[in-house]
Symmetry: D2
Subunit: 182 residues, 4 copies
Amino acid sequence: MGIAVIYGSSRRSGNSEQLAKRLVDGFEADHIYLSEYDIQPIQDYRHSDKGAYPNDDYHAIIKRVLEQDKLVFATPIYWYGPSGLTKTFIDRWSQSLRENKAEFLAKLSAKSAWVLGVGDDAPHLKGIPLVQQFQYIFQYTGTAFEGYVLGRGNRPGDISQDHAALAAVDAIRKGWEERLEE
Amino acid sequence: MGIAVIYGSSRRSGNSEQLAKRLVDGFEADHIYLSEYDIQPIQDYRHSDKGAYPNDDYHAIIKRVLEQDKLVFATPIYWYGPSGLTKTFIDRWSQSLRENKAEFLAKLSAKSAWVLGVGDDAPHLKGIPLVQQFQYIFQYTGTAFEGYVLGRGNRPGDISQDHAALAAVDAIRKGWEERLEE
Amino acid sequence: MGIAVIYGSSRRSGNSEQLAKRLVDGFEADHIYLSEYDIQPIQDYRHSDKGAYPNDDYHAIIKRVLEQDKLVFATPIYWYGPSGLTKTFIDRWSQSLRENKAEFLAKLSAKSAWVLGVGDDAPHLKGIPLVQQFQYIFQYTGTAFEGYVLGRGNRPGDISQDHAALAAVDAIRKGWEERLEE
Amino acid sequence: MGIAVIYGSSRRSGNSEQLAKRLVDGFEADHIYLSEYDIQPIQDYRHSDKGAYPNDDYHAIIKRVLEQDKLVFATPIYWYGPSGLTKTFIDRWSQSLRENKAEFLAKLSAKSAWVLGVGDDAPHLKGIPLVQQFQYIFQYTGTAFEGYVLGRGNRPGDISQDHAALAAVDAIRKGWEERLEE
């Protein structure tokens, strides 16, 4: 089992993608670019008859995510939160809860997760609500929230100048490598 | 000028809607149910040639929002953040920034905003990242973030049992009424 | 059993005290003004021989706190956190953990808690870190963190103009009264 | 001008101290161990006649802090916030505001700051309120909040196993060295 990298940017090769690529380079990973798929907003059938869920790519994507044991969410910080693509994908987890809650949570609770968020407005401070949102998400799903990196970038490539973010990513890599060697 | 109420729920008549209706009852308000419109994810042209933005309902909706002087975001707390519908709508503000930044910010910075978030997992605590996300959003746009209410509800109607949330909503109403009388 | 109100202000009759008085008016309460007692900073003997703890008023105060079943922390927001008096008192809980962890946690985990914080710099937003700090404190001790009020005030008496804070306090009172009647 | 390192632990040679020593090793630094000084709680004379402030070590310490251009707060995470020693010291800044607000803020607004917090209960997540508290503190004083490190440690020496924290500290050092070379 390896790593599911869930890219939330609406563009390719941006800073959050670059940071994630550095993180997982050399590790077995399934790269999932949400912008390449059709994932519609959740329908809320919690308290009504269960109607049809959107017939889109959600099931295919969540299946790929659940097959890995490490999750890396790589999202640009859009308006101080995860991108709409990322959020809409996570909202759909409510569908999986409705379809098979026990199995869904059993799988997620066996995984570890990391979050990479890249923005250009003081991300080490203003990215904190994004981190705390994921903190509660993973607390609910029982997923171990191992770490996060808040990097600075605006123009593609900027992230390569954020030495603190690069060092943080390398420290995560180092931890993975050590566990592989055990 | 009145109030733009931006409903982020994917269902009608849920708790966040009920709370918002109590808040604006008797005031002039434009009720905007995001679930009734087609608003696609943002395209990121910040650092590429400006391509086409989605041909959907965004322009019509943001126009209605900008016509009012009070903004009320009424969103269910989905996965500890604003709903995907709400987030996707706000992500599109980047399009308005690209199209006419000065005018867009001039309008938003003249407005006041309130946020109503309703969830069922300790919303007074776990809704805090949502509040902080809006805090930074409004800080960026220069909008006065006057207040928020984090209410508890799951099944439609639950919110009517959250006396603290109802009292908070009534206190906001009272403030509006007093200013009207001045 | 009643309410322990722990006042953290260094002055008497300030806004946080006034808000707390409104909250507990008519209920059985033990009013504990930390400024009237000598509570020294914690000594950290976690990983050394246990030396002497300060011979001050801590034991007398914590005894009074533990005798009640509701805790109300009423603190001015000093520098965006609880007052030093409040923090120093809570730091000393580590002494109680060292002296009798099981009994201390058993008692605290049977209680409910509310926090009142009053400041004058956008307390509804900038008081959030204070709330989250208490969130983790009570999570550790197993205490039910029932609610909080972030009020605005600077000059004594200002709090009487913060209708949202007053309404929030009244809603807590209402909840207490309803439970008494059951 | 160099670095003022403000140690908030009640014990010497603990993890937060070790992390700070690694950070400033080789740089000109004034090491200020708050536990070695007498700093009493603030008296609040904001709205009363100005009485006597405590006759203790505060003035001597704040003078040393203001002489440097970089501030490093190294505090254990006690009860999910800065230590009482740290908080009580910062509370006293209100005295400096009362004594000479313009000069005090002019000096602090010309400085840069870093915060090191070390705890043993998920510090990367539960240390966030501490970070946000300092965020607002430095926002008020106009100090540039350049970065923070949340490290894990309980027994002295634990911090040397937290590779992410060590890497973060080294990245800050690297930034300092680069600026020195310019």
